[in-house]
Symmetry: C2
């Protein structure tokens, strides 16, 4: 019997939202849920037990970063990612494709999200049917990543959930490029699945990735392919447009054609409002670097705050005896005042980043937990009004 499963307990009447459980050899994840980014085998500034204390179910790590540093062979030698980084819960690795292509096309998220201009640097040297050649940002060494190689690396890393290699199609290309790229990603999906089957230890399952850019027909075609292959889960990737509205629309192109019984992951999305929208469109999991990145820059995520967050350096907090979020039960809000956290940031103290990161992680887990409860109680709309005011 497989150690993996996805069980759907409840389907919403008025949307595609659902409640489920993803089971893995390292434990289970209640969905909808959020996956935190341990980019280089570490959540920035937070230890695994602290992540657990903040309610975290699952984290992901990036194949691209790890293959360059410290290298997949080393991680394998150290017992795999779980042992190496001391995380014993469910884990996902991506394929490496996102970073290779998005770094190659300019800054990572800007391009995918349709912001900024195309600025292809020299880190992607060549993209062919076979795979992608690129230069390491660590030491300039050349690497050639094929679907087979990506899966081999992910097998060495040993995460529970792995992802097919795809070409992460950028925003500033035309429909014909997007179509060809999506077709190639389908073939790379076949090759990724075949590679996993060649040496499947039954400790990993794979997500296929839906591409097709902002084009409804291409998204449908990509969904049709992914649905018909033997993937465990579905991920929605690639360019989702240049605005929140377009993103919701592009995801909605996919919703009707997703495999109804498989977990669906929306790649790289972490805003409160976006998550509510995604949940309604049938997305089960989300990931984004934003919770910890925002924290390191002094932004606290906050339920009901304008634009979903507050700037902790703001002078209005100078003498604030209140916690960052009065309604929050995280280690930062239960023990420290906003004035103190502000002091840590103005004085350049490392502890500020750590405490605010704990708060932001806790807040994302709280958001997801409240969404699951609201789905059960049929009041998602009311909950969204509490979390998202502008």
């Amino acid at each position: 019997m497989s150690s993996f499963a996805f069980n759907i307990h409840y389907r919403d009447d008025s949307s595609s939202a659902r409640l489920g459980t993803i089971t893995t050899p390292h434990g289970s994840i209640e969905t909808p849920n959020f996956i935190f980014c341990a980019t280089k085998a570490s959540i920035k500034g937070i230890a695994p037990d602290q992540m657990k204390d903040c309610g975290t179910s699952i984290i992901l790590s990036n194949t691209y970063h790890l293959m360059l540093q410290p290298g997949a062979d080393l991680v394998e030698k150290m017992g795999g990612l779980h042992d190496f980084m001391g995380w014993d819960g469910p884990m996902l690795t991506d394929s490496g494709g996102f970073q290779i292509f998005s770094l190659g096309y300019g800054s990572v998220a800007n391009e995918i999200k349709g912001r900024g201009l195309q600025n292809r640097d020299k880190s992607v040297l060549k993209i062919t049917e076979e795979g992608a050649e690129f230069k390491s940002y660590v030491d300039g060494r050349k690497f050639f990543l094929t679907p087979e190689e990506s899966i081999k690396i992910q097998q060495k890393l040993g995460a529970d959930l792995i992802v097919q290699l795809d070409e992460c199609t950028p925003f500033h290309v035309d429909k014909s490029y997007t179509a060809k790229s999506m077709e190639m990603s389908k073939r790379w999906g076949d090759r990724s699945l075949a590679e996993l089957k060649r040496s499947d230890n039954k400790r990993q399952v794979m997500y296929g990735i839906i591409q097709g850019g902002v084009y409804e027909d291409l998204r449908k075609e990509s969904c049709d392919y992914i649905r018909e292959q033997d993937f465990f889960g579905t991920a929605v990737g690639g360019s989702l447009g240049s605005s929140k509205e377009q993103m919701y629309e592009v995801v909605s192109y996919c919703t009707p054609y997703l495999h109804p019984d498989r977990p669906v992951h929306l790649l790289g999305i972490g805003g409160f409002r976006d998550i509510f929208a995604g949940v309604r469109l049938g997305m089960d999991t989300f990931d984004c670097v934003s919770p910890t990145r925002l924290a390191r820059h002094g932004w606290a995520l906050k339920k009901g705050a304008f634009k979903e967050r507050i700037n902790i350096r703001n002078s209005q907090f100078k003498e604030s005896n209140d916690p960052v979020d009065e309604s929050c039960a995280c280690p930062c809000c239960t023990k420290f005042t906003t004035a103190y956290i502000r002091h840590l940031f103005t004085a350049g103290e490392l502890l500020g980043m750590q405490l605010l990161s704990l708060h932001n992680v806790f807040t994302m887990n709280r958001l997801m937990s409240e969404i699951r409860l609201a789905l059960k109680q049929n009041n998602l709309k009311e909950l969204e009004k509490e979390w998202c005011v502008a």
Copy 2:
């Protein structure tokens, strides 16, 4: 009855070492012990509960840094340092003198320890009998620190143990300057004590500071003064020479003339060997920024290691499945391999600094705890051989 006490339980036969307990309104400290530096109201990268988990009894914070940022008035408004930073154990603040004079004379520790050349910059604008005028490194504002002002600030900060203002005499001055400076520090000691008495809430007691540079007769004269005034504790400060040997010698000038029943603090010293020497010379507490500073630069303190530490970035640790210190029970050594900690440092991950800081804090607390046990069991020399190999 006073909430403060110092009880000596045991005196060593063959040295001036002793075992004691310092009692404060925020708890007690077994001595010998180490005081960790929360320079700007924060141990760099470590939360108070983590400090406790690593065996910490007492921390200190720096008046100089706090008066500039966020300011003593704000800290007082927030309930004092204990509430502000969430540390409910014993705490010490220094007078501000050390940083003012040492920053004024060049780099902080180099000058005091007789390393480097004199390089007096413009941050100390004027030193007079009245006090010291200096410029803020934060925003260039002018401040004038007198003994009375230092005590008023320390009263606002609210630490249990406070320190008189002194002129921290540098190394590269002649005996006549050192003598005059020491005399002025005596008068500043009187003024500091008088200021505390003016509004003593019985929640703070004061340490006097022994100056006198590297000169035996001046050290004796300073000791005589400090011993005869109504200080709770004694601190040995100022220039201790340019080598470890000279430092031990200068401290040994003081030992015979210290008040026998008061706790003695050796300022700014944190090496294993130096602590063993200091304990034998009758020092009860020590402080130094080194444990957390070394950690942030990738150095792990280690019992029995050459020069007392290892460089975690060393390639010999690339595939090391062992903890940083196999004999250590800290959160870093019990959960992570040296290979992982090395990876965090080579990849520039914040978590590396945090985990190694926990290890170094734990190691200092372990050192002090083993020293206390060895004193009881009369085998300090054997213990020193285990900790200090070169």
